[in-house]
Amino acid sequence: MIPELGEFALILALVLAALQGFFGIAGPAFKRERWTAAVTPAVAGQFVMVATSMGCLMTSFIDNDFSVRYVVENSNSALPVFYRIAGVWGAHAGSLLLWIFLLGAWTVAAAFGTSKLPREFAARVLGVLGVISFGFLLYTLTTSNPFIRLDPPWPDGQGLNPILQDPGLAAHPPVLYTGYVGLAVAFAFAGAALLEGRLDREWARWTRPWTTAAWAFLTCGITLGSWWAYYTLGWGGFWFWDPVENASLMPWLMATALIHSLAVTEKRGLFKSWTLLLAVLGFSLSLLGTFLVRSGVLISVHSFAVSPSRGEFILTFLVIMIGAALALYAWRAPQLKSEAGFELTARESFLLFNNILLVTACGTVFVGEIAPIIYTALGFGKLSVGPPYFNPTFLLSMLPLLALVSLGVHSRWKRGGFGDRGKTLLLTFAAAAVIGCGVMFGVFTGGGVLAAVGMTLGVWIVLSSLVDPIIRLRRRITIPRSVLGMTLAHIGLGIFVFSLTAVQGFTTEHDVAMPIGGVTQAGAYTFQFEGVNRLQGSDYGGVSATMLVTRHGQPVAVMHPEKRNYWVQHIVTTHSAIDMFDGSNILVALGQDLGDGRWSLRIQVRPLVTYMWIAALIMAAGGMLAISDRRYRIAQETAEEPAAAAAQGKA
């Protein structure tokens, strides 16, 4: 009964999404007041239906309803309740439902957030979101219905993949999807502006918090994924330039560019059509990522068991949505001229460089991502594009970007130059070079040019970001939250660059064969292998090793890397032991029994890798702080016009 209810709710949601899309777009277009007014109830109704559907699927998982195919494929009665709930989005159909649910949540938020904006504009935003929701609902119902029954029901489920049985599954997909779907809101704002043919600085101010929020979620989602991969997969990697990773990185790069271009549009009324284009492209890349991953068109490793019809649907949807948006764009963009001017060294120029470099980086990832497809399509055979391609080509645009951050932050609008900040900038740079190289030679005893550049730039970004807040504090001038948020995000970026450089430059990795009682050295640490014990979990068995870690004779940690055998799925997994000491991550993974009491082990010492993830979270926190700035709170602003104007002036 419950699965049928879920499916029925999904069909009602489809109808309501169609109405929401129609009323939202046609209402303002034909000046039908009553149509326009019907949008908000449609939004509410659609969300209730989607939430009901989500609840039904969750109930089927919790109740172990093995008459539902999707539950059979992704759950098992031995699975703890926590993973049965997270298992809802453990595979394709359920993660699509999660996508739709989150889109519904964003839409409800947008309905509240735009309630003080002009009615027609708000209706258009919700209308565009309705069209997107309609597409995804239709997609789910026609190709990936999670409520399909099995007759007769199975006695038990096939279980959730052991790799997914991790708290990471509960957190990573929902957060990442919240980011992906959030870009739909930015797209909807752009769509509404295009439909209306009006785009002013107010529009940019309305759009900014939504874009920043989506960006912050995307940042957290990617970070969680990287961290999850690092500690569950056993090989100690945190980024492999895998097509699936790239699919999340490309929208992030676009969203980052969009945030900065919106700043110019709001402040100076410039780059209007470019901003619109970025909003359209950002969401397109979200969709394209979904298409590339779902369709199986992406190099051979993804080509199994993915139904082509799923890919075709997304491609069609992509072409319609993006085609319509670009057609509207081509029609409206020429009307969006601006007569504002700026000098070469002005803030506008630096933000322009920021945008060009981020889009270039995104383009580079895109070329690498689709190169194997093109290569095969040209009849040349198969091609791999891996880290040796992405690392240097990505740096080509990232290094200039990082070098320009500090200059951009301190440049003046319009007439350019750094005023009295020129000297401060030089000083911070000199200090950064000393600290960066000092750490390199003092702590890590040497390194290449790239490491020196990376560390210096990282420190410089942090130091130069601190200049303005310190001056304000000393003069007792309040810091608007938007400025504080930007500062925090840039400090996060600096710490990220610094840590990443340390990880890339100074990681020690050893694969060793050790007898019980054997000792080996990695970096400053000594590892003593104490032996292995049998292991018994709820749905797995296996072995657990004991490794004593010391540094200069002082005990640092006792580590227990495991090798588990999940008997439901007959899968053997490696559970590395990870310990943090002095900012370094020590990772020990247990390999094979080599006989004669000897085991193969992988030992890694990665400096600062944890700070890399923390830094990314600081960036996201900066974004969230900026959103809380009072000038984005429309309600107050309309009520206290002069106060808001003053606040904006200061910002």
């Binding site: 991969a229 090989w235 410039l270 001017g341 060009i356 091609l383 594009v385 694969d511």
Partner: protein, 151 residues
């Protein structure tokens, strides 16, 4: 292998899910130089059976055979170039994580530079147009950063 495949099907939008079990294959080469070359080489080849892992991490027997082959060739005195050629002639460019720079892949390697040049040209064009407009633009934007002496 089945475990891997289903993992990819299960969570395709999420991050790469590498193999459940990890191959840790400690080897000793006669000299540290050979050891370093060996490490670099096995990280640069794709395992042809599990496909999204390097030879260094792949647990399957084919990868073990290929690692042994590399070890023998290194000890026999073959250059990295010869070893790469040996594997490419058998498995094609697909086995290399680093695409080669040849006529058919030149566009891939040139694209980032070309994109950057296009970006630079557009930046120059935009800035040239905008610098002319500074005089006629009457707006005086309020600074975000605090300037000058204490007021």
């Amino acid at each position: 292998m089945r475990a891997r495949l289903s993992a990819r099907v299960l969570l395709p939008v999420l991050l790469l899910l590498a193999p459940a079990a990890l191959a840790i294959a400690p080897t000793r080469m006669p000299t540290p130089q050979l050891e370093a070359r060996y490490e670099r080489l096995i990280h640069g080849f794709r395992c042809m059976q599990c496909q999204d892992e390097s030879l260094a991490d792949s647990p399957v027997s084919l990868a073990a055979d290929m690692r042994r082959q590399i070890r023998h060739m290194l000890i026999a005195g073959d250059s990295d170039q010869q070893i790469r050629h040996f594997f490419v002639s058998r498995y094609g460019y697909f086995i290399l994580f680093k695409p080669p720079f040849v006529a058919r892949t030149a566009w891939l390697w040139l694209a980032p530079g070309v994109l950057l040049i296009i970006g630079a040209i557009s930046a120059i064009m935009v800035i040239r147009r905008r610098t002319v407009l500074v005089k006629s633009d009457e707006e005086e934007p309020v600074e975000d950063t605090v300037r000058g002496k204490r007021s």
